[in-house]
């Protein structure tokens, strides 16, 4: 770690903290949304989660500034492998003498990227299918929902293992698509249930009576009112996809080495966990930190947007 990387790290921390503080101030000042924002920030864990996520996104974006070493460079395979954490190597070095801190920082790019893209795809698909099924009902609903029943019964990890193992050398994009295509079933059920009840409401009936186009009704009138389950399943989805990618990488069939992801870092270093535990512990903690923050933010969103839940007695 050089002075420059410490400095960059400090700036990232301050930026993340300021971002959350500014958001909080702005949200609380607003007139109409004040109550929602207050409930969103009611739990301290939610603010922390948001701050940690912001920090990690900044780290991922500014990886070249924050990582002191090339993540894939084997510094000195003879003398510098499995070094314990020190001021030079903040989280030690791994079995191939690569800097664990630098790999974790660059790994954030791939891991967070897969998580965000996979979840985005899954939630978009799920929302679309759920909205169509719930709004049009009749045979469209029946066909789509029977399909979702089958999708929910698919052993997802086996399907992904099959896809990745059988089609050798699957590119990054294909992995994201495969994950997205197998992760939307739950969301579509939630959205459908929400749309089913919303379409009976007066404002939707009124919009229909006024002759508003169906697509516009769905996207402008119905879906914004179903935002809570969609946002929550998006937040939880990112964490799930992240864990899924880590599991696949751990089984040796995720992102190909030497590019680091948190999952394949655990996989690469697990055999030497007894002599050099740091190189396995760090990426695992990073995953846990992200998933935990996402869960905390999802709790906050649920609290803020869910009309059914009031303050506990």
């Amino acid at each position: 770690m050089t002075l420059g990387t410490w400095f960059a790290l400090g700036i990232a921390l301050v930026l993340a903290g300021e971002f959350v503080r500014a958001l909080r101030r702005r949200g609380l000042r607003q007139g109409g949304g004040g109550e929602r924002w207050r409930r969103f920030f009611r739990h301290r864990t939610t603010s922390w989660g948001l701050g940690i996520l912001t920090f990690l996104v900044i780290v991922a974006v500014a990886a070249p500034l924050i990582a002191p070493f090339d993540p894939n460079r084997q510094l000195d395979i003879v003398h510098l492998k499995n070094q314990p954490p020190s001021w030079t190597f903040l989280f030690g070095t791994d079995v191939l003498s690569r800097d664990v801190w630098s790999r974790a920082v660059y790994g954030a790019r791939v891991s967070l990227g897969i998580g965000a893209l996979g979840a985005l795809m899954a939630v978009s698909l799920g929302t679309l299918v759920g909205a169509i099924a719930g709004y049009y009902q009749r045979w469209i609903d029946a066909v789509l929902m029977r399909g979702v029943d089958v999708g929910l019964a698919l052993p997802r990890i086996f399907i992904l293992l099959m896809a990745v193992a059988l089609w050798d050398g699957l590119p990054f994009a294909a992995l994201v698509i495969a994950i997205g295509l197998t992760s939307w079933f739950g969301t579509s059920r939630l959205v459908r249930a929400e749309v089913l009840s919303l379409r009976q409401q007066d404002f939707v009936v009124a919009a229909r009576a006024l002759g508003v186009q169906t697509g516009r009704i769905i996207f402008r009138h119905v879906l914004p009112n179903a935002a809570a389950p969609i946002i929550v399943s998006a937040a939880l989805g990112v964490g799930n996809v992240l864990l899924l990618e880590a599991s696949l990488s751990f089984l040796g069939i995720g992102i190909k080495p030497p590019d680091p992801t948190w999952g394949n870092m655990i996989a690469d270093n697990a055999p030497s966990i007894y002599s050099a535990p740091w190189s396995t512990i760090v990426p695992g903690l990073a995953i846990a930190l992200v998933v935990m923050s996402l869960n905390a933010v999802a709790d906050g969103v649920q609290d803020a947007l869910d009309p059914h839940e009031r303050e506990p007695v």
Binding site: V150, L152, A153, I157, F158, L243, M292, P312, V313
Partner: protein
Amino acid sequence: MTVAAWLLRRVLASVAIVFAVVTFVFILIHIAPGKPCGGQNEIVDPAVCDEVNRQLGFDRPILEQYGLYVLALARGDLGYSFSLHRPVRDAIAETIPFTLQLAGAALVLDFALGLALGIYQARRANRLPDVIIANITLFVYSLPTFWLALLLLLVFGEKLAWFPVGGPNNPVLCPVIDSAFCLADRFWHLILPATTLGLVGAAGTARFQRAAMLAVASQDYIRTARAKGAPERRVVLHHQLRNALLSFITRFGLALPFLLTGAVLIETIFAWPGMGRLAFEAILTRDYPLVTATALIASTMVVAGNLVADLLLGVADPRLRVRTASDLDVVTA
């Protein structure tokens, strides 16, 4: 609709779902490039490989293969595993006890600990004990299970050496369970993998149960129960918990298949010869019949879990019994 008619409809729908899953997996595995014999890493004479693939029937049109498979399936024949050189049915039957032991132990820990924590937290909502437990469960719930498994192995298997680091039993002293000592040996081997799965599950259950208890806590009938002077214990256990159990049952139905098939990584790490590991190895060796059969069993577990949960919901909540099946779908969605 009578219960019998509802049950029949649900069972038929479940069979259809499982059949669709099997078909999907069958198609996926057959359109994948390559044949069981003759992968790019193998050093087998291509002529020999062609002969092997021909004998196994993989040179025939996919529709014909599918037809033959379905016909065999209808007779209860799961096929022959060519990587293990034995019938698929035997290979799977051998792993099921191990999977059930692991899943059962994990499930007990999951729900016993999770329910207790969730109820305790709801009783002290937003006070210090609740906040502390909530933060711990949030953390544990977010851990990658395979990473937790590695850490538990590191600490309790290697450093402290309290528990064995893998396998279902001591291969020298207890190759088969034939004495009380060997039974204890099995439990001893079971503790680490079951704790890994159970702890993460329990954290989720606790979070879930706390929310369910609190959602019920503000209902009118709870206030009524308190107002009429029912003892606190009865209010919590009889009025609050019983109503909060509905969502718990749904969760139980969802957890059942996950514990059986989602344990691929845990079974791999702890060298536990269960179904998840069998499925993983089957995929790696391109053992088509074995892969399809494990998918069949996994999806059967999912639909069975849903069905059991719906039946239990009817037992727990009389209001759900008189409804029709389509309403039940909405309730469990």
